[in-house]
Symmetry: C2
């Protein structure tokens, strides 16, 4: 391979050049009176945008959700703590390189060895790739001698009403959430990290997602989920430092090694879309509690109007029904149950058993303590949510996501080892 193979995206690619030209043009345009010139001028080619890997927190939690996710869970095939440590070190180095758009390793041009990088992302740019690592409850057992270091917050999620979980696509010792604006970049990350794990850990399950289903950045529009409704209107945004500190980042109740971290819950929520699609618009809106077109709470005008749970309809009942999803999914009476959602739509082909597309929401959320956030919310939803007629929770997982790697020589989860 050429001398540039060490960093194929470091040079100015053809796409990058065009992007720079556009920006330059708009600086001039802005001077000519285009009010929006500035923001456009600051927008480079999205394929060349990158998100720093190093920091107090891992990237991919408060990073405005990219368009695609490739999420994977792994099981250890070793009981040797040193090998796990070596894997986490190798993963850290590789992830930091890929976040910059570099190949996973530098040696890709020696004829008589396998290339370190598999190559399918050469030339695609970082595409805002974030790689977020987590540790499942099963990591903290006798095998590795880590039992005493398990956070109380990582207590496995109890059976919840309505669960129809498939253990083969649930849980795991380790997880990687790879998000990017290009699915090939996200795939490339998971594939190469899986390859690095060979001999230490094997993939247990993975899930692809597209079309983010939560508003996570202040500048983002609220996307629609596969039920056709705007999803994530009331989510915590990445510029709300107070809410992030109160609800997302591990607090002093968590062990030292989790400081700067958070707890991730994922749920594969299958939507029974054929039943949903045959439902009257009015019923769909009562199920959700919002107007399909605007996203406004029932009875209000605009998406961001406050949700008034006390308002009555002419017939005397609540405008937002007692079993509407937004009533039950809200942050609770004591307002302590807020979570940071980061979900994606998925479709996994055709389910010949049910005779319909296997599609739905791959729900991901971050919080400081799932025991007092995700678990009570889902217990309430699983029992009473009018939406339950149209969904199935088919998989579940919980991971402790440690703080970020601040030091260039550090590695993910270093405080644990």
């Amino acid at each position: 391979m050429s001398k540039s193979s060490d960093n194929p995206s470091g040079g100015i690619t053809r796409r990058g050049l065009l992007g720079a030209g556009a920006a330059g043009g708009l600086v001039i345009a802005s001077g000519g009176g285009f009010a929006i010139g500035k923001s456009e001028a600051e927008t480079p080619d999205p394929a060349q945008e990158s998100v720093p890997f190093n920091g107090v927190h891992q990237a991919g939690i408060t990073t405005p959700a990219q368009d695609r996710v490739h999420f994977a869970a792994f099981d250890l095939t070793t009981t040797d703590k040193a090998e796990v440590k070596a894997l986490l070190k190798a993963w850290t180095v590789a992830a930091a390189r890929m976040a910059k758009g570099e190949p996973v390793g530098p040696d890709n041009d020696t004829p008589l060895v396998p290339p370190q990088d598999t190559g399918e992302a050469f030339g695609l740019g970082p595409s805002s790739l974030t790689i977020t690592f987590g540790f499942g409850p099963s990591l903290f057992n006798e095998r590795l001698g880590l039992k005493s270091k398990m956070p109380a917050q990582l207590q496995p999620i109890p059976a919840l009403p309505g669960d129809e979980l498939d253990p083969r696509i649930s849980d795991g010792d380790l997880c990687i959430q790879a998000c990017a604006n290009d699915p090939q970049v996200a795939f490339h990350a998971i594939r190469n990290l899986t390859r690095i794990a060979l001999g230490t850990a094997v993939m247990r399950w993975c899930q692809l997602g597209f079309g983010r289903t939560s508003k996570t950045g202040a500048g983002q529009e609220t996307p629609r989920n596969l039920m056709g409704f705007k999803d994530g209107t009331a989510n915590i945004l990445n510029d709300d430092k107070e809410a992030l500190d109160n609800f997302v980042w591990a607090d002093s109740e968590s062990p030292d090694w989790m400081q700067g971290g958070s707890y991730l819950v994922s749920r594969r929520i299958r939507m029974l879309i054929e039943a949903w699609d045959r439902t009257f618009l009015q019923e769909q809106e009562k199920v959700i509690g919002r107007i399909k077109d605007s996203g406004a709470p029932i009875g209000e005008k605009n998406e961001n109007d406050p949700v008034n749970l006390e308002a009555k309809a002419p017939n005397g009942g609540y405008r937002i029904p007692m079993d509407a999803h937004i009533r039950l999914a809200g942050p609770g009476d004591n307002d302590q149950e807020k979570i940071l959602r980061r979900g994606y739509s998925f479709t996994d082909g055709f389910d010949t058993v049910r005779g319909q597309l296997d599609a739905g929401l791959f729900f991901i959320c971050f919080q400081k303590d799932p025991r007092i956030q995700f678990v009570p919310i889902q217990a309430r939803l699983g029992k009473n949510d009018r939406l339950n007629e149209y969904i199935l929770h088919t998989a579940s997982a919980l991971f402790a996501v440690p703080g970020g790697v601040e030091d260039q020589d550090g590695y993910i989860g270093q405080g644990l080892f």
Copy 2:
């Protein structure tokens, strides 16, 4: 829903506005001496770009390949020709609307009926959506009385060397290829067309793909497949009218109702990526016959340098090995086997049996007669291709893709009925 629900993408969206601003700015920049200004000025927000549905040929064949595909095959659940005709009419109307970014049907705001459109693509724009319909050999049997109208070119593909086909994800009476730059737009198309088919046809299988693997438009860069190699360098391009006429469009040997059409072969080609990833770079390059980094034929400098099959290596053997993929996949001695490829990468999660990612190439090609194009090529490849150690053909399908709908009142396949 609001009055605008009839055409949510018809108004100027926030994204659309920004795009228009960028273009306007660049007209000025272009005047200031930016040579690339013009092409940028003509590039609107990609989400708002649309491809006309009506035309002599169906869209999605020579349309420069979009970034995503959602391909679905269907089986009829009726033996009534009138019902099939009605389905094709309804599909035509819906596809033409969706190609413009409109909801699949206009009625989405009546409270006491199910909305005609499922809603998840509201606000996403057409995203260059193309919807391409095809008819499988099994459509032409006694059931519908169409046996005499079956093109000879649609003769089912014979068993080929190396086939490991799964019949559950092969073949089908009808197919839809939905391509778009946004996966949610492609999903939305397949979902709504599936819904319209209820009572007449049911989905048999579907396949998602990303990261197009063939260069199909003169302005496109050659993408890389999941083996990390550039794929589609020598493909027929959409501005090569002579090659399209010679190799892609049905000729006078095809029935009248196929004029303007083509024949589609799809193959789900699983890559054994773990074995591939452990292979030396030099061996990977010998398997393909090209240099991984540059895409040049072995011994040449640049991707588009001619493939010299006679050139010898210092050891006296051919530089491009006798069993290299590009040697065997070439257009044959008589040069009549050229095909228009339009493949996509896929990954369908983790295969617990083989312990690796289930990923590869969803190969799609168009040609005037598969019997003298795809079949001899694949017979040669299946027997001798050095690549066979690293791939498995797991599914196959063949469809007659009729000409486009030129008349606003026409429908797909009208000439057949």
